[in-house]
Amino acid sequence: MESSLVLRVVAKLLIPFILLFALYVQFHGDFGPGGGFQAGTIFAAGIVFYALVFGLDNARRIVPDRLVEAMLALGVLIYAGVGVAGLLLGGNYLDYFVLAADPVHGQHRGIFWVEAGVAVTVSGVMLKIFYMFAGRGRHDGDAA
């Protein structure tokens, strides 16, 4: 895909900050606005931006399909795993109080992992849908 020089340079400048902002939203979600869902979409939007400017193939090389599909399931598994961890440590399902010696610290730990699971699944799904649509259009165009 041919893109103008300005677009490429601006994208190269912006994308690291978009991804960094996604991480900030993820890990600062306890203290300010944000959380797993927002961070996941911003992260996916950053990758989509990259794919738009530098082409789908380059994006697929950086974030391969296999990884995206794994992220899809991994996020839900992390979330459900936090619940199971609570069970194993003697609490109820999704009971965070037992995750650490100090109940409040346990809550923080539980929320951290749960948000991580949400972010992983959401960004995986967003990217997968984008890959599916974009890839489909191009291959059909070639065939026609």
Partner: protein, 170 residues
């Protein structure tokens, strides 16, 4: 402003313009949500509504014609149905408590306990979503996962030509 965007959206037949307009609508919605102090939702609206879904719609537009077909039927029946629904909703909304009324039932039920903040997370939204309502969020994540799995099941190209032959029937 948003009403204007929607009106133009309905009148426009060029789908590319429609997609750009819906992106603008999403940004306006996000600013409205910021004005309502719902920054978390505004962030999601801006990223999903204006960002990702615009790109997805453009990708879908790439697959079809860029002009919307002329409607075949008269719009009166759907129009009257949606007007009736809107009227019903507005009538129902008139019965709601005043905006930001501290005595409203929603602020009396479980909200005080949420605000006591026994989980000690400064952002109450995160605390409610991830801790108090952990089951709900697990369900939502599963819904998102199911959506992704459904998309994969629908759009993935078949890797086995033999199956495809079988489906088409020789």
């Amino acid at each position: 402003m948003m009403a204007l965007a929607v009106l133009v959206l309905v009148r426009t037949r060029n789908l590319f313009a429609v997609i750009v307009l819906s992106g603008i609508y999403s940004f306006l919605m996000a600013t409205l949500l910021v004005a309502l102090d719902a920054v978390d939702v505004a962030m999601t609206e801006a990223a999903v509504g204006a960002g990702v879904s615009t790109v997805l719609l453009l990708g879908a537009l790439h697959l079809c014609k860029s002009e919307e077909a002329k409607p075949v039927h008269r719009p009166w029946l759907p129009l009257s149905l949606s007007l009736a629904t809107a009227g019903l909703l507005i009538y129902g909304a008139l019965g709601l408590p005043d905006f930001a009324d501290p005595a409203a039932p929603i602020h009396r039920h479980v909200a005080p306990r949420y605000l006591q903040n026994e989980v000690d997370v400064p952002n109450v939204v995160t605390a409610v979503l991830a801790s108090f309502r952990g089951y709900d969020t697990l369900g939502e994540t599963t819904v998102v996962f199911t959506a992704g799995a459904g998309i994969i099941a629908l759009l993935r190209r078949r890797r086995h030509p033999r199956n495809e032959d079988g489906d088409h029937g020789k």
